[in-house]
């Protein structure tokens, strides 16, 4: 397994995420019914479908920055709601951090994730523990950086990110929502898993799967 993630792998990641969202759309909407407005699955599925068609449209794969930018723009332009600007901003900021290049090393990828995360915070003004997608995103990016910092191999690090996202997602169940639509519920939001954290966990699991598979076929 190489320590380098190239443009083809990143593209596979996005396509894989799109497929996972499509597959889990009903579940995401179901979670959003309980503490929101029953549209997170259809929102994100619509957006990732647009991303996939943008990626397919492009015969010559552009470099990483432009590809992520196109994807982020597609999300911003087709999703709406809270998740459109948030996921869109995530990829747009990743794009800026990555710049015009054909591959990212682990540290560059970590920096791009961190930039994406900061974009989500800037856009949504939520904090850790508010019961939002941040509660999967923050632990994922933290875990990725920490694993790399401890010198773990890339595969282990990205797997740790996915594991952390899922743990964060699970932990949202116990939280009281302070941001997003679930916040209207106050105490009644406790006991329900956050839909946005659930889709973010899918995003990092897709990253682990494609970035590892994409390199060593495992």
């Amino acid at each position: 397994m190489s320590e380098i993630v190239d443009v083809t792998t990143l593209r596979s990641w996005l396509i894989r995420f799109a497929g996972d969202v499509e597959e889990h759309a009903a579940e995401l909407t179901e979670l959003d019914s309980a503490i929101g407005d029953a549209d997170h699955g259809s929102n994100l599925a619509r957006g990732m479908k647009a991303v996939v068609s943008v990626l397919a449209d492009d015969s010559t794969p552009p470099s990483i920055g432009p590809m992520l930018k196109q994807s982020g723009m597609a999300l911003v332009s087709t999703v709406g709601g809270a998740s459109g600007p948030l996921y869109g901003t995530f990829f747009l900021r990743m794009a800026t951090a990555a710049g015009e290049c054909d591959a990212l090393g682990p540290d560059s990828l970590a920096a791009a994730f961190r930039a994406g995360l900061e974009g989500v915070v800037a856009r949504g003004k939520a904090s850790a523990g508010d019961k939002t997608m941040l509660d999967a995103l923050i632990p994922a990016v933290d875990a990725f950086e920490a694993a790399l910092g401890e010198g773990k191999p890339f595969g282990d690090a990205i797997r740790a990110a996915a594991d952390a996202a899922e743990a964060g997602r699970d932990a949202t169940t116990g939280l009281l929502a302070r941001k997003g639509r679930a916040s209207y519920l106050g105490e009644r939001s406790v006991g329900h898993q956050d839909p946005g954290a659930t889709s973010t966990a899918l995003l990092f699991r897709a990253a682990a799967t494609t970035m590892i598979d994409g390199e060593d076929g495992k």
Partner: protein
């Protein structure tokens, strides 16, 4: 799911197409961008008033486009705020040179998408935009640390009243101030007897047992403050009115003259809304509140949800005059 639709993903565009066909003299609909415009654009120099949000709340917002009210309305997917591109396009097209006011209901998605749109509009079009957020739903505890209160019934009144102010030729910041004034002096609270069903979801957003109702529900079927046994209309009116009056008194002081608005959530018939209005008006009389104008009907709905909301707006003479000014839209029309 029982709905008069074709495919769920086509609902919004097909309904817009129907609106265009139904109001050829009054509206122009850009179905590609899902924007409803006045058939006859306002004269240069008039501040443009724009609103938008998720679909499923009709006649809000598209039904309020026309002389005396909105210049353009932007339709998102059902219960999903529109995307920035749509807002930018509507802003660019509606501007007559005098600037554009965005009326945005306080939902995370709406706020973020309109915010991004305002950023893009500023960078790319040079149009001056002032955004005002409505957040009148007392069912939600207001707090700096949360998403805050939801924008509901007051939005209808703000669009009418600020629309009249814009029509009078007031400048951008004054029109925006009117929206703010309406929002600050208005409070709402809703309730549901049944859930709505989002077409793409295919089943009710929440289950409400046969003998219960949801007090403090949102217009997207967001669960409310609490679930209580069904009660007579008289008691429902009190459950909605008391927190509104309490909140108004704390926030803006004594409440003398109001516009009272009983809104239908979509599936509740007018017979029941009038009955509710009778209860509300009796309670207000008892509370010493003077109703100077009223509005009863389904104006900010939640698809096929059964239920209602009550909105009170404290008014002064200026606001009443603006309310009385002519308006000519599919959803609200008088004096024209």
């Amino acid at each position: 799911m029982k709905k008069l639709i074709n495919a769920p993903e086509d609902v919004v565009v097909e309904a817009l197409r129907g609106m265009a066909a139904a109001h050829p003299q009054h509206l122009r609909v850009d179905t590609a961008n899902r924007i409803v415009y006045r058939a006859t654009p306002a004269a240069p120099g008039k501040v443009a008033l724009i609103s938008g949000g998720g679909s499923g709340h009709e006649p809000l917002h598209g039904g309020f486009v026309g002389p005396g009210m909105l210049d353009a309305a932007i339709a998102g997917e059902v219960f999903t705020s529109p995307v920035p591109d749509q807002v930018v396009e509507a802003t660019r097209r509606a501007d007559t040179g005098a600037g554009v006011v965005h009326i945005v209901k306080n939902y995370t998605g709406d706020v973020m998408n309109f915010e991004m749109a305002a950023e893009i509009a500023a960078a790319e079009t040079g149009v001056e935009v002032v955004s005002v957020i409505t957040d009148d739903d007392v069912a939600v505890q207001d707090s700096l640390y949360t998403a805050g209160r939801r924008g509901v019934g007051v939005t209808v009144l703000a669009e009418k009243i600020a629309g009249a102010a814009a029509e009078q030729g007031r400048p951008l910041h004054e029109v925006a101030d009117v929206v703010r004034r309406v929002n600050e002096n208005g409070r709402s609270m809703g309730m549901a007897l049944t859930s709505c069903t989002v077409p793409a979801a295919g089943r009710p957003t929440f289950d409400l047992p046969e003998h219960e109702m949801e007090i403090g529900v949102g217009i997207h079927g967001e669960p409310g403050r609490r679930r209580v046994p069904l009660a007579p209309a008289k008691e429902v009116a009190a459950m909605l009115l008391e927190p509104i009056l309490e909140d108004l008194r704390t926030a803006v002081g004594d409440t003398k003259d109001v516009i009272a608005f009983v809104n239908g959530m979509g599936a509740t018939p007018l017979l029941e809304l009038y009955l509710m209005y009778g209860e509300v008006s009796a309670l207000l009389a008892k509370a010493g509140v003077n109703v100077v104008r009223s509005l009863v009907g389904p104006y900010i709905t939640s698809l096929d949800m059964a239920g209602c909301s009550v909105t009170l707006l404290r008014v002064d003479d200026d606001l009443v005059r603006l309310w009385d000014a002519p308006v000519n839209t599919p959803g609200l029309r008088w004096g024209a």
